[in-house]
């Protein structure tokens, strides 16, 4: 799969009568101008043609269980790719292979042009440039919110305490949690914790952000605040690979939606086509189940 249809994204978004999408998904205000601003940024970055991520023939097994069976995926800078599919289809595993939390068995994953299987590749450096946000937040419970955010910049990048805290406060300010800077994570709601977790990743200024079902552990009323933040990042041009069950969100924010089933990307394309007119029967079946469950 390649993600080279970038003008298509903008023009595809204009034909309004999309049969399967009567106003679903949390619509964030100011979306249309943000999109054009984003495509401007893209034109500026057109020199940056090196793919951020290129996966070819990726296989991964856990014991006898083969989770990934030949995944192909390419992402360019500023791409937002959403991985959809039922639980166990390999979405999370694919993400975890991209920052070397898991090692793949066959195939190649190239990150910023480097083959991750290369012995000279340092996994700490890979992770320094790829942020990851987890379903279960995984904030450090023994550290205050501010220290959660500054830990990695200080210990990995060697930023001094004052500068790291100033930057962290700025980020927390942006998500409206500046007043929680000195609280411990367990005093925060799930949505607040997840937003802090995202900011914790952003503090490292990653080139690629991996989001692993970041709203799945949240109460329904807290989902929107997290998705809004992710949507905002998308508009700002953050390159993101997102595993999600939130179809409305995927349709709104993704440049490309990939449907995974049985360890393969069965179908991928712009969200209008995947949700509006999927060609593969497996995709149709999956989306039908989602619609039956009232989730689309």
């Amino acid at each position: 799969m390649t993600v080279d249809e970038r003008p298509g994204r903008v023009s595809n978004a204009t034909p309004a009568p999309d049969p399967a999408s009567p106003g679903s998904g949390p619509a964030s205000p100011g979306r249309a101008p943000a999109t054009s601003e984003r495509s401007n940024r893209r034109a500026k970055d057109d020199l940056d043609r090196l793919p951020v991520l290129r996966a070819t023939g990726v296989h991964k097994s856990f014991g006898p269980l083969e989770v990934l069976k030949g995944v192909e995926l390419t992402m360019a800078t500023h791409d937002v790719v959403c991985l959809i599919g039922s639980s166990g289809s390999g979405k999370s595993t694919l993400l975890r292979c991209c920052n070397l939390l898991e090692r793949i068995d066959a195939g190649t994953i190239e990150l910023f042009g480097h083959d991750l299987a290369d012995e000279r590749v340092n996994e700490d450096l890979v992770r320094r440039h790829t942020g990851m946000v987890f379903q279960s937040f995984n904030l450090f419970p023994h550290l205050r919110v501010l220290d959660n955010v500054t830990l990695a910049p200080r210990r990995v990048l060697g930023v001094d305490r004052g500068a790291a805290e100033a930057r962290a406060k700025e980020l927390l300010e942006r998500i409206g949690l500046a007043d929680k800077a000195h609280e411990y994570p367990d005093r925060l709601s799930g949505g607040q914790q997840q937003r802090v977790a995202i900011v914790r990743s952003l503090a490292m200024e990653p080139r690629l952000l991996l989001l692993d079902e970041v709203t799945s552990a949240l109460d329904p009323e807290l989902v929107a605040e997290v998705l809004d933040l992710v949507g905002e990042l998308a508009h700002q041009g953050m390159t993101m690979l997102i595993a999600t069950h939130e179809m409305g969100f995927a349709r709104e924010v993704a440049d490309t939606v990939c449907f995974l089933e049985g360890g393969r990307i069965v179908e991928s394309g712009p969200p209008e086509r995947i949700f509006g007119d999927p060609t593969e029967p497996a995709t149709r079946r999956f989306l039908q189940r989602i619609i039956d469950a009232g989730r689309l």
């Binding site: 939390l101 996994e123 700490d124 450096l125 992770r127 942020g131 995984n138 450090f140 830990l151 977790a197």
Partner: protein
Amino acid sequence: MTWPSRRAPQAAAPVGTVTVGGIDPGPPSDEDLPISLYSSHRPRFRGRAGTAASTVSTLVVIGGLVALIASPAAGSFRNGFLNIHQMWIALAGDPSRGILSVGKGFVLNIWLSLLCEVIVLVLALGVASLRLTRGPVLLPFRALAIAYTDFARGVPVILVMLWVGFGAPSLGIKEISTQSPVVYAGFVLVFSYSAYVAEVYRAGLLSVPRAQIQAARSLGLSSRTTLYRVVLPQAVRNVLPALLNDFTSLQKDTAIVSTLGVAEAVHSAQIAGGVEFNYSGFTVASILFLLITIPLTRYTDRIMNKDRNRRLAGTTA
């Protein structure tokens, strides 16, 4: 989906609630209800009656203890163990008759336990980390660490004390054989307690969720930084009560040093007892130990409760 079968029995009139002519029959008696929820016995001593009852029982217990100690039959017990004059002699010591001060001896117990605890905390962490390493290169060290913890925890401290305390001087190796008994004693305490504390650490390290490590590594933190900044602080917090428990034990087991003839509290009490044919010195030593260990165990309990509350609060979040 509908569940018609479950609705049917509910529609029928409940047993025992028959209203005739709009007259409320009042609260049904136990016999009227199909299921009894009343306890078969009445609760006793509630409120004021409860306070009175607890006062009476406390007085009875205290009175019993006083009677036991003050009774004429307990006279020899009082004289042998609770003789105030003898207790004072043991506490202060009497150099002219060769009686060592239990109080001074106890100072040795305290600093020995503190010094040993510091060394134990460091060494045990090393042993625990070694046991949790992976990879083929460290296999022999891992095996050694397991053998050590098994051995050191399996042999009574007093046995190791005798072994080292009397064995080392007889080795005839100058550096090892000419040390003071205090050094041998310290070595043995460190040797035994490092094994216990290593297991406590190991439990603590294993109690930190793997997701925490993955989150830390995903931020680019090295395995070393992850251990010191993320895993270890959480691990120690989780096992702090157990660490304090072991410290209390260590503090008490400094008494075993007396077997090597070191002039600590228990040995001094033994001397006083031998010279005076009176055992009140042991009472003094016991009281001194209790003065340290009781606040320590109270403190441990408090931390344990705080920790439990924190965890229970955590489950609802």
